[in-house]
């Protein structure tokens, strides 16, 4: 096995939405610095927006809304537990991001007068900006990465952040094609590896039939944890209302501005707002269990031209294979509702609130380690939030690395990690990663899928702890299989975090995301706080409370209860 040694000033782990922007902004801040993006796929088509995006969900455009209004709406939608100053950044810098993307050739929908054509999907305020031609977003970003002379290493997966004397000094990983061990020294590191999209098992039973890009296996959640960083509110799961079996968005964000809406089997509305929130998911869960299911996205009342317009957007962007899925089943939006179901659980701050704890500079609690995008704890952040947090990490890391020197990695750490990574190759006839992953994720469904029961979660937690032994049985026959094996390690870590955090917060919050059968009510007296976790000095996973910082935008949560139920 060869070892590659690399050095860079700023290491970006994950070249998706946040990562490409982090690299570009770092080079804009200091063109002389060396910036390296490490990507386990290929940045041309990687991450959540591999096939583009059909719209911006968090566009704060002057004249339409203000960052303060946006912070207010997200505070209410997220039941008050958040760091407002982090969310504010998304509102504050989102417009600049949109303008810069536009200067690079990304197209956003405009009205006849040339103004941004914003739509209302949230309960209050217009924050959705359609991108009917957003399919090549990632190719455009990859081109800008090259133009800005950011170095890129594709097909290398990071497995651990290196930490010495309390600060991040680089990362290790391996080449998923050649198998080389890769050691990268860096003065600062940003983790932007996306969601943990492979946590629960899809109802179809297909391991990769997930909502999130299945490459996003919770790598960054796990790496941040082992680096000693704090994570927060992991019990606030990502659960989405998706096309049944296909497991992709239906997509109400595109279709509802045209008049589509989510309806029960009788064709009636049961929610007043299609914006994804825990409360909206709880109403969907109740409807599905009320005898009035299944629920569907209803478009068949719209005229033919409108439906054609919706199809034009949906068949080209984000998840274009929706078209052939419906075709294969002989379904037509003109006559059929899109049957929807509740997804398996995942972790994703972009859609809910769990993630690696960051401040408004994208700093984690480990000096020199940043986090951005779907894995950083900025609630409801979506794509524009990922761009903003990537931007913040790139700019702030460039300040941080000023005057810093590289630090030699600890040889003992390298030897231990190398042995951990390559162990499955020594067992080519070991249990295949597919089976090991399937069972782990089935346990996640069995014991963690809300509504949450304490005894079930205890059993699940014990199973996840025991699963270390199962991981040691896993065998790989080539570097590709080794990549999947190491992803199963990430998934196991995320499952343990999800169980411990869910057991810790003894109340219900965020609708279905954290609905506990034994504590069905919200308890602001004891739990109006963040539930954080980290690896203790002795290597144990420890849970603790962190207060919610004083609000910068006043919100009266007693009066402003998020409620989208139709009664």
């Amino acid at each position: 096995m060869n070892t590659q040694h690399l050095q860079t000033d700023f290491l970006v782990i994950g070249g998706g939405t946040a990562g490409t922007m982090a690299g570009i902004k770092a080079k804009q801040a200091n063109p002389d610095a060396d910036v390296l993006i490490l990507e386990k796929a290929n940045i041309r088509r990687s991450g959540a927006i591999a096939m583009g995006m059909d719209g911006v969900n968090t566009a704060v455009i002057p004249g339409n809304s203000t960052p303060e209004q946006y912070v207010r709406e997200i505070t209410i939608a997220n039941d008050g537990v958040l760091e407002q100053k982090n969310v504010y950044q998304t509102g504050r810098w989102g417009f600049e991001v949109i303008q810069e993307l536009e200067s690079w050739g990304v197209k956003f929908q405009k009205d006849h007068e040339g103004n941004y054509d914003l739509k209302q999907v949230h309960r209050v305020g217009k924050y959705v900006l359609p991108m009917p031609e957003g399919k090549d977003l990632k190719k455009i970003l990859a081109r800008q990465v090259k133009r800005h002379k950011v170095r890129v290493t594709n097909r290398v997966m990071a497995t651990r952040v290196m930490v010495k004397d309390g600060r991040a000094i680089g990362a290790v990983g391996f080449d998923v094609r050649k198998g080389d061990f890769v050691v990268i020294q860096a003065k600062a590191v940003v983790l932007c590896t996306g969601a943990c999209g492979r946590l629960g098992l899809p109802a179809s039973g297909y391991l990769y039939g997930t909502y999130e890009n299945p490459t996003n296996a919770g790598d960054g959640y796990s790496m941040a944890y082992h680096a000693g960083a704090e994570l927060t509110n992991i019990e606030c799961f990502q659960i989405n209302p998706l096309i049944k079996d296909y497991n992709g968005p239906a997509c109400a964000y595109v279709a509802s501005p045209f008049g589509a809406y989510t309806a029960n089997a009788e064709g009636n509305r049961f929610i007043s707002c299609d914006y994804w929130s825990g409360q909206m998911m709880l109403e969907t869960w109740k409807e599905l269990n009320s005898g009035k299911g299944p629920v569907h996205l209803k478009m068949y009342h719209l005229d033919d031209d409108t439906i054609s317009e919706i199809e034009r957007v949906l068949w080209a962007n984000e998840r274009p294979s929706r078209e052939r899925f419906h075709e294969g089943r002989g379904e037509d939006y003109r006559t059929d509702g899109v049957e929807m179901n509740i997804s398996e659980i995942g972790l994703c701050s972009g859609h809910s609130a769990s993630g690696v704890w960051v401040n408004d500079k994208a700093e984690t609690t480990v000096p020199g380690l940043y986090a951005a995008g779907d894995m950083a704890s900025v609630p409801h952040n979506y794509m524009i939030g990922a761009f903003v947090s990537g931007r913040l990490s790139g700019i702030n890391a460039m300040d941080y690395v000023e005057g810093l020197e590289h630090v030699e990695p600890d040889p003992e750490f390298l030897a231990t990690e190398k042995a951990r990574i390559y162990a499955p190759l020594d067992r080519p006839d070991g249990v295949p990663h597919t089976q090991v992953e399937y069972k782990l994720r089935r346990y996640v469904n069995d014991y963690l899928q809300p509504p949450k029961s304490p005894t079930k979660m205890d059993i699940g937690l014990a199973a996840f702890e025991r699963y270390h032994e199962t991981l040691d049985l896993m065998g790989a026959q080539d570097p590709h299989e080794l990549m999947r094996c190491m992803e199963v390690h990430f998934i196991r870590d995320c499952a343990e975090m999800a169980a411990r955090a869910s057991l810790y917060r003894k109340e219900s919050r965020w609708g279905l995301y954290h609905y506990r059968l034994d504590y069905p009510e919200k308890n602001n007296e004891e739990w109006f706080c963040h539930a954080n976790l980290k690896k203790s000095e002795t290597g144990e996973m420890e849970m603790f409370k962190r207060p919610v910082s004083p609000y910068m935008v006043e919100v009266n949560l007693q009066q402003e209860v998020y409620d989208v139920a139709v009664r």
């Binding site: 041309r44 088509r45 096939m51 179809s204 890009n213 299945p214 296909y246 052939r324």
Partner: protein, 75 residues
């Protein structure tokens, strides 16, 4: 451990008559890295059944040799 090989229906179908021996476009863009070349024929094929049916392989193929089906379990 004792292992068995099982047959599976894979989503990515390559029309070998159209696939170019020297082209690696599909292999380079696949997020899951599931496509490889058959060393004997130089044609691409799906080696690992780990597909997100996301379509970059199909869209970036210069000869339209690739068809992505929805994976059987979801279809």
């Amino acid at each position: 451990m004792a292992l068995a090989t099982q047959r599976v229906d894979v989503p990515v179908i390559v029309d070998e008559s159209k696939c170019l021996e020297k082209c690696k476009a599909c292999i380079e863009v696949c997020p899951l890295d599931v496509l490889v070349k058959n060393p004997e024929t130089g044609k691409a094929y799906m080696k690992y059944d780990e597909c997100w049916f996301c379509l970059p392989c199909e869209k970036e193929c210069p000869t339209n040799a690739i068809t992505v089906q929805i994976p059987f379990l979801l279809r």
